[in-house]
């Protein structure tokens, strides 16, 4: 069937904004169909309409020739249309099993049938090769594990159509491999898959066709086989862009000047005896697989979680009883990986979210200087390429990638001279990634130093001055730029070499 899912003249208007404008295209039965486009192009919005999260303002959707109209995501799930969300949507206080079965609990008479639910959960987890158990509490899982759980949840029902909205942004290579083999398996069972991602390699490995959206409009649909990447990008961005992460400016790290010195720190999250130095003007990359505890360790350095032991020196002065508040007053900034939970305040607008880490700076005789904050938001928004660059826009209503840009803007607003970026380009489109890289280089020029956690090898190799590799909470290698080598880095990341 050539037109299994058909979008006809779909339009979606939000208060003050037209997010999807007259989009029509169709998806074949049993194919893996990519949805591509820049941040804010309307991809997530279109999927949300398909899944009944909100109605389209105009237009119709046909599935298998039948017009469908869902008033609620439950209706869609009943029809076999499942979704893996872009943002993590789990109840942290519940167990893995409870989250998977949420809203669809199995019963035996009036009582819950726990045995059956555990059994079904274990089966799904096994199929996905998850390392956690049905009885684990969700709040104890790390971001990658939570993402796998989201996927498990979507796979539970008898789905005919499954959509993935940037599923790999918090997964490590191995998990991505598992996920891909699952998606291919789904395809072989005749399930139709819609796949959103900003990583083009994934599209080439996985997808049959790709539909491109730009600025809420339908641009084109391509067969992936034999298609040139640059054509794809040009259609997405409307211009040629630099696809590879690389340093545009001369390296400027000064290995005689240590700005941050971490000595023998350990935390109960599982990182142990970590020591390293950060030098002025360098980008120090941290690579590792899921479970390497990079994020956990950085949270310890930033003071968000307590250290069991170890010392941290900024410019040779010890930072004592560290808390985020203290770290920031020592000019250390931290861009968290998990933007919805740790990055921004949902009901505040871009002006306030960008000012949040610099409230003292914007204070004049007890009062916040609104004009200055507004001007700052406009300026930082422009620098990070925010769309729409409207300081009054409520951050929650921005597209995923644009929310990320607001958080980058928040740290640009502070005068932090050590910036810890945890997956800084997570969810950022191909065109804007280069902007983020350029901003990082500008920060170095301003005399700042950067720690970057990234799970994307090309990014970490392209941007770092040195790379520290971690495996299960321990450092397994420190590599200088001239020693960078994919195979070597991966070997150390799996703990194959100490």
């Amino acid at each position: 069937m050539d037109n299994y899912i058909e979008f006809k003249n779909i339009k979606k208007a939000f208060i003050g904004q037209l997010a999807v404008k007259n989009v029509s295209f169709s998806i074949r039965k049993g194919e893996i169909h990519a949805l591509l486009g820049e941040n804010g192009a309307g991809k997530t919005t279109l999927l949300n309409i398909l899944h009944g999260l909100f109605p389209a303002t105009e237009g119709e959707i046909f599935i298998g020739g039948k017009k469908v109209e869902f008033f609620d995501s439950k209706d869609a799930i009943k029809e076999g249309i499942a979704k893996v969300h872009q943002e993590i949507n789990l109840v942290p206080e519940m167990t893995v099993m409870q989250n998977i079965m949420l809203g669809d609990e199995k019963r035996k008479g009036i009582l819950l049938n726990k045995k059956q639910m555990y059994q079904e959960t274990e089966e799904i987890l096994k199929k996905l090769k998850c390392k956690f158990n049905a009885k684990d509490k969700v709040s104890r899982l790390n971001t990658g594990e939570k993402q796998m759980l989201q996927i498990a949840k979507a796979l539970k029902g008898q789905a005919k159509i499954i959509s993935f909205d940037e599923p790999t942004s918090s997964l490590s290579n191995n998990e991505v491999k598992t996920l891909f083999s699952i998606i291919k398996e789904l395809k072989s069972q005749g399930i139709t898959v819609i796949y959103i991602s900003h990583k083009l390699d994934e599209i080439y490995e996985l997808c049959d066709r790709a539909t491109i959206m730009r600025d809420g409009e339908y641009i084109n649909t391509f067969e992936i086989k034999g298609l040139d990447k640059s054509v794809l990008i040009k259609n997405m961005v409307g211009r040629d862009v630099e696809m590879f992460a690389k340093r545009q400016k001369p390296l400027r790290a000064n290995y005689l000047q240590t700005v941050l010195s971490v000595e023998h720190i350990s935390g109960k999250e599982g990182y142990e005896d970590i020591s390293f130095n950060l030098y002025k003007g360098e980008i120090l990359g941290f690579f590792g697989l899921v479970g390497a505890k990079r994020t956990e360790m950085m949270k310890g350095i930033f003071g968000a979680t307590p250290l069991i032991q170890g010392k941290i020196y900024k410019n040779n002065k010890e930072i004592k009883n560290c808390s985020p508040y203290n770290a920031i007053s020592h000019s250390i900034g931290f861009l968290p990986e998990n933007r919805k939970e740790e990055g921004f305040i949902k009901d505040l607008n871009n002006t306030d979210n960008m000012a949040l880490a610099s409230l003292d700076y914007f204070e004049r005789n007890f009062f916040q200087n609104k004009k200055q904050k507004y001007k700052n938001a406009l300026e930082k928004g422009k620098r990070v390429g925010l769309m729409p660059n409207d300081p009054d826009f409520i951050t929650r209503n921005l597209s995923g990638g644009n929310q990320q840009k607001v958080i980058v803007g928040k740290w640009l607003t502070t005068n932090a001279d050590i910036l810890i970026f945890d997956e800084p380009t997570k969810g950022i489109d191909v065109g804007s990634k280069a902007d983020i890289y350029a901003i990082m280089e500008e920060l170095l020029e301003e005399g700042k130093s950067i720690i970057m956690i990234s799970s994307e090898l090309p990014e970490i190799i392209g941007m770092s001055d040195r790379i520290i590799v971690m495996h299960e909470g321990k450092i397994t290698g420190v590599l200088k730029r001239e020693e960078f080598n994919e195979a070597e880095i991966l070997l150390r990341a799996v703990g194959g070499k100490e």
Partner: protein, 312 residues
């Protein structure tokens, strides 16, 4: 661009108009809308309004304070006792507010340091404070004969306007400015909106919670002072039944019960809505028990309207 009418934002003004219009029509012959009665309503609601300003901070920060009733009566009794022993008005009032701050510091200290939810902490302290106010005078009422105090904080007027209402306006202005224009206001909203994101942005979450509880308690103690001045005396029963009205005023006013979003002006309108309700039901000739039932029903309707999530 497309603008949709977002009724939720204006729900407090809509309920205000509805309640006001309904009573104006139904109670036309009973003089509901006479200037004297309207000023009477404002006078009666002033205490709720002032206490609701502090409560708006607490709820916006994702906290709640159930102990304000006890704070109101402790403060009123303390001020009445001090005035009885001829302590000067400024000293007595300052001591009253200091008492409020102390109660707030107890609540806030436990919330911030021991990390117990404010709901549970203040559920406990509410009976402690209420008990303390009973012990203070052995259940005796304390009259206040100081005319200056009674006039300035309660029963006096400036022209046709009650001093109680003027105090409400002053407190509202201060509250609004602190809420909207200071770093503290932003910290309150961000702690209520997303505590971990606030922490990761360097907001001192414990400190913010502590001071929010203190502010909430101080505003309750100011309400206590107004009560004492209006009644020309204090008794342990003052404020006893106010906590529900105060919370309802804040929520009807458009402050999100889960924190992160709120308005001080809306809170005051919300409390006037409650005041109109109390007054109207009384004029309708309902018995006290009937009033209680009717009030509960209307509050549930108004609160559920303002809590309903609009779809986009």
């Amino acid at each position: 661009m497309i603008k949709k009418f977002n009724y939720k934002k204006y729900i407090v003004y809509i309920s205000f108009i509805i309640v006001f219009t309904v009573f104006s029509i139904v109670l036309k012959d009973k003089g509901f809308s006479s200037p004297a009665n309207l000023m009477n309503i404002l006078r009666q609601t002033s205490m709720i309004s002032v206490a609701a300003i502090g409560m708006c901070f607490a709820i916006s920060a994702g906290l709640i304070d159930l102990s304000i009733g006890g704070v109101i009566s402790i403060t009123a009794l303390l001020v009445a006792l001090l005035l009885k022993y001829s302590i000067s008005v400024p000293v007595a009032v300052t001591a009253g507010l200091g008492m409020g701050a102390l109660c707030g510091a107890i609540n806030g200290g436990i919330v911030a340091k021991v990390r117990i939810p404010s709901f549970l902490v203040t559920l406990g302290t509410s009976t402690i404070f209420a008990g303390a106010s009973r012990i203070m005078t052995n259940l005796e009422a304390v009259p206040i004969t100081n005319k200056v105090f009674n006039n300035v904080f309660g029963s006096g007027n400036i022209g046709p306007i009650s001093s109680l209402f003027i105090w409400t306006l002053i407190m509202m202005t201060i509250g609004h400015i602190v809420y909207k224009k200071t770093s503290f206001g932003k910290a309150v909203l961000s702690v209520g909106g997303n505590e971990s994101a606030a922490r990761y942005s360097g907001i001192n979450v414990d400190k913010t919670k502590f001071w929010t509880m203190v502010i909430c308690s101080i505003s309750a103690s100011f309400a206590g002072i107004m009560y004492a001045a209006r009644m020309h005396g204090a008794r342990y029963t003052l404020g006893e039944n106010d906590v529900m009205s105060v919370i309802a005023a804040v929520v009807i006013g458009g402050t999100s019960f889960s924190g992160g979003k709120g308005t001080i002006v809306g809170t005051i309108i919300g409390s006037i809505v409650i005041g109109i309700l109390n007054n109207g039901l009384l004029l309708m000739g309902l018995s006290v028990s009937e009033q209680m039932i009717a009030r509960g029903v209307v509050i549930i309707i108004a609160v559920s309207l303002s809590l309903r999530e609009s779809r986009d």
